[in-house]
Symmetry: D2
């Protein structure tokens, strides 16, 4: 395996004004390919089916991604057991396999390996700062051993927990990203995006931003608020964004999880590649330079981001050899009226129909309790009976 | 490589009343993964990136597919050159590589290998029966050499050309499927689905049906008309269906090609896994026993077909180990209101929103000429200037 | 009261190639104004609130209508009693008041008075031809006494009953129109629109066509089928159409009654005045010369019909003094961007949004039984308990 | 004419905790009936066609309205001439005729007469306070002469101009309402609804609130903000709301005028009577006691408001004799499945379809300039050529 550092690391790139393109959503993509189970969402496929995980890494690399995130989401031993799967592999085996796969493919191109940690059940259950930090520390040990290039603390709904994560990850000496899964209204305690960003930078994060839970434009707007907060505070940072590939105009503060369509009916909300062009341009204009994706992002979505920013980056991704920008490949279609679609103007203006006239265009989010300090509820999350839980949630309803 | 015939072949299965599950759409899936170019749609990836093609075969196998179709769509030398790609591989190399990949993965499970031919530019240019049959014959030679298990003549808009293909394929002694890409109105010469089916059976097809161009329910209804025609004629056949995974209620007689969203804005039309359950059940009820998919079908769509028919088949597909039927996996989700969605009733009744309130639900198909006997137009299809062509099409407009 | 015949009657006009514009829907318009009760839909307002009925007649006259239909829908004594209203007026009083109001306003402009009969409960209950004809005869007596200009037999779902009505109305010596409330599939016994039209002409109707139940374009297409039938049979007739002012693409064979939105949630389906322009032009092009409206048509809808056909008729309706064609009045709006809408092109192309993103665009029609020969069910229609009825309908379900 | 004061006036009613129901939108309703021209929107029909205006007053009275607003919108001489209509009547004649009609019908039931003034071109052209107040004073003179029961200053986009109006109207000694046509973002100078309300109360308004421009729920929410502002300031007032009868979720700060559908394509946005029940309940819950409607409100919409609040008011409106609450009249329908809709639950939950699958559910508002202090633009509003204006608006664009 190539030594980390053989390539320029993320801060060198960002400090030089370069664009770093992230990868897409492994959990959702591998669920559709048959290797991850929706519900537990655990990453044992890294050990069980390495060829499938490797292939997805490779597709994102070809699509233009400079970051291979290790497929280690929810990969702590307790979480894995928790999920009731009789495991053929230990957590350590899964984590190590994931690091090796990410490194193997990163070495095939111009990509870095990022290790990741995310929010813990322990925090929601009101465990102490020391306990929560202990969890992050144990995860970090694997990433240090495998010598990833940088760390990402992502998918946090409470900025306090994200600060704790950043403080732990900083001990590695590696660059640290901090990414919250919040929207314009701020974290679940109502702390504004700007204030969240300031706290994360003060905790030591080099790069701050948003991932998951909301559609691209909402995430970009939220990062813009974070940037304004950081600048108002006289601080400096880089910015990242890794949104959903789903339209979520009808979400409440908890994002797409509360939509009735989550997670098995989201298809009509999937963004087209042309939506991704708009997203990439807008993120760039706002000053974000680490631009990637989360759930729903398939390789062609990342390719669209790389194609939109090809002028700024100076090159097209490898996979563009199989793609004509703005539909140019259609010039070779057999039907003349399809050939007539081989132009930017056509795709940029298209308002795609859903073909579902008996369905609405927007939903009412579903949620029994959206709460600040809802730890007592979360402690019951393993209860077997929904009936037990419902009254608690009714009480907590916002 | 295991000899063909080690497993029971398709007619044995169908004669025994078994369900044969097909695979999904390679061209569209590999375009999104970065290995096929939209427009030319040629399969050089079989030679260039075998790991990507192998992986997709494997995902369909795990999802329940009993048929590995060789990834040889549009793989004749003339077509490949035509498309303007400086080729690193000859047509023969691509075709042989595709056969080998299909066989390799078929051998990993209970699957057969099917070779395929489809409609030719030569037919549309009014070449002679001998010339058109010559093309089919050259393609067949590869499949015979590679000893595929059976043959599929698919994606024909004119039944006459499909008859010619069937007549050629029959010379191999292998079972022959004949599948048209037509809707309820019949082929482009206005021959009804029932009459088409009768002609195909008389030409020697063992299995007849429909693929591509229309959504699942439309395709099932069209096969039903074919079946009624065959039965009325006192003939016997088996039936197959491999539809799109897109909702197309607004199509005209040429199918999804004419929709303004084809091929890069179809996302909001993608069927959910639950739509696939309904499709599989309806196809089964109509008496179709070879049930698969075409463009837009991803592995999870095939898995849904296999899950719907698990009782009839007596087993679940391998990938179901990573999937709870009807959302059962959500019982392990952290949010209680998402856990409450772990039930058939919820997903069966969901009307998914598109999240696109400024878009319509249906489109107006686009087509400059939908014609019977439009050969003169088609001869111009390689013209460089659209302006030259437009008047011709205006004239021919139906 | 002016004598009938002072003006040219309907056949003179139609024979001379003139366009006769009908009026709109009294029952629905007066329900919204507070004078008719939805459910019974009876016309006692003619006697109770003559000023309201007179005003609506006058608005249609000003809008361009040449026909004042007497507001006598469902005005037979049995129907009025049936409906459980303690009546302050007898059926005779209501009918006579309605005739007087229609004549009074017709005399204010270039309009004729038309008396009307429609389908009877007696027919559905399988009463004899003599009994059903007796009902029509008693209604006709009032219209003869009041000397209306011509007669309309309208809103029939079974052509046989319409034939009986025509035969009775012919005895008056007045011109007779026959209008069915059926769609492209024909009457409820499955008799095609063309065959229905032939039978009505043979029974003596001078003018045949369609009213109510479906949207304008569907009704125009159905009249076209009627016209083709009549011409094929070597007969001659004039044609009329009086459709709904609601979009009904999702109707089944019984029309808008089965839509879940009937009758109190139809608002999002209301046609704009611009939709009416298209309707009027299409009706004219098909060869229909008696063009009006039914439920949902407000005065401004009729005005739009008259404005579209102003060139052919040679004049604008009186109410156009308060309306700029194709939005021309907006030239005087205070906001410049609204002034910019004062042009045909703008309104002709507008795809109006519903502002209802959580609603579908199409519904599933609702119907317990759509039946041919469903007399046994209809006999129970006065039953008080729905529970009694439901099983009967389940049994009859089509 | 009956003397004002014969009935209890509006403040006595509101102070006693009673609900006062307003009327609906005369300008839009009479445009559809053929008596008002869209664009100029002037009320000469009061003199030209008194029977049409009287009839509409009567319908609102029957529907439950306690307020007959004189039909005098835009009835100043300069405005009437401005509009380029060769007038058969002077402004004074029109205004006096309107007052007489309102009084005549008010005397037929339990209703008061309200005179009204609204925003002036003079204010937008930066005329002095004295000049603008002079205009209001001249209008007031007519209302004092005709002895209306109270005054409404309505449809103001700038609170400053509304204050001036209130100050003038107060000199009459009559109760004064002040109603702005703003949304949640406040007036066009960005003054919040709460601050606007405080200023209006301080200027002497007894009743403050919102009319026109936005849908019912938006207007109710805006009045809620006004009420909170007044209460925070330690002041006291009564509250009124008279919204549109159109869904406007997609409006910008200037309301429905900017929607592409204004004013001739709004049909799919019309609220049903059931939407009105929700509106009336919500307005009541928020503490608003003067509840009416503006553009789009037809008599049946006001009836629905009166029916929703029948328990609180102790009686149903006269027109309810022709309406079964929550569809009860359908019990008498001939089709059983329509009879099954005679229940609250059905209509309360219905999501009405638009029948327009090729249309979006939401629009993009249209506006060349939404400006604070856009007087220079407004001065050009009489320019004949749009081309002259466009660059000015481009420059001012917000």
């Amino acid at each position: 395996m190539a030594p980390a550092g053989a390539k320029r690391n993320i801060l060198e790139r960002l400090d030089a004004g370069e664009i770093v393109i992230g990868d897409g959503g492994f959990v959702f993509a591998l669920e559709k390919r048959g290797y991850v189970k929706a519900g537990p969402w655990t990453p044992e496929a890294a050990a069980e089916h390495p060829e499938a995980v490797r292939q997805l890494h490779r597709e994102f690399l070809r699509a233009g991604s400079n970051v291979m995130q290790t497929f280690t989401f929810y990969a702590s031993d307790d979480k894995l057991e928790n999920r009731g799967n009789a495991q053929r592999f230990t957590g350590a085996q899964i984590n190590e396999a994931a690091c090796d796969l990410a490194r193997e493919v990163a070495n095939e191109g111009d990509a870095m390996v990022a290790g990741g940690v995310s929010q813990t059940p322990s925090y929601l259950s009101c465990k102490s700062e020391a306990e929560v930090k202990g969890i992050f520390k144990r995860q970090l040990n694997v990433f240090v051993k495998k010598n990833v290039d940088f760390m990402i603390a992502e998918y946090f709904e409470h900025v306090e927990e994200a600060e704790w994560a950043v403080q732990v990850l900083k001990t590695s000496g590696k660059p640290v990203c901090a990414s919250l899964c919040i929207g314009l209204d701020g974290d679940l305690n109502g702390i504004s995006p700007g204030d969240c960003a300031v706290r994360l930078v003060k905790a030591g994060a080099n790069i701050v931003g948003i991932n998951c839970h909301f559609d691209p434009m909402t995430c970009v707007k939220t990062v813009k608020l974070m940037k304004e907060g950081v600048e108002r505070a006289g601080l400096k940072a880089h910015y990242m964004v890794q949104p959903l590939a789903y339209h979520t105009p009808d979400c409440n503060c908890q994002g797409f999880i509360d939509l009735p369509e989550f997670p098995f009916g989201l298809e009509p909300r999937i963004l087209t590649r042309w939506d991704m062009h708009k997203y990439a341009r807008e993120a760039f204009n706002v000053g974000i330079r680490f631009i990637g994706g989360c759930c729903g992002f398939e390789p062609y979505h990342i390719r669209a981001v790389a194609e939109e920013l090809a002028t700024e980056r100076g090159f097209l991704p490898a996979a563009s050899v199989k793609h004509g920008s703005w539909g140019a490949g259609l010039e070779m279609h057999t039907k003349p009226w399809v050939r007539a679609r081989a132009r930017r103007d056509y795709w940029e203006k298209l308002k795609p129909a859903s073909g579902r006239p008996k369905c609405p265009s927007m939903s009412t989010p579903d949620s029994w309790g959206v709460t600040k300090g809802h730890a007592d509820l979360m402690q019951h999350k393993e209860a077997t009976s929904m009936d037990e839980l419902k009254p608690l949630f009714e009480k907590a309803k916002c």
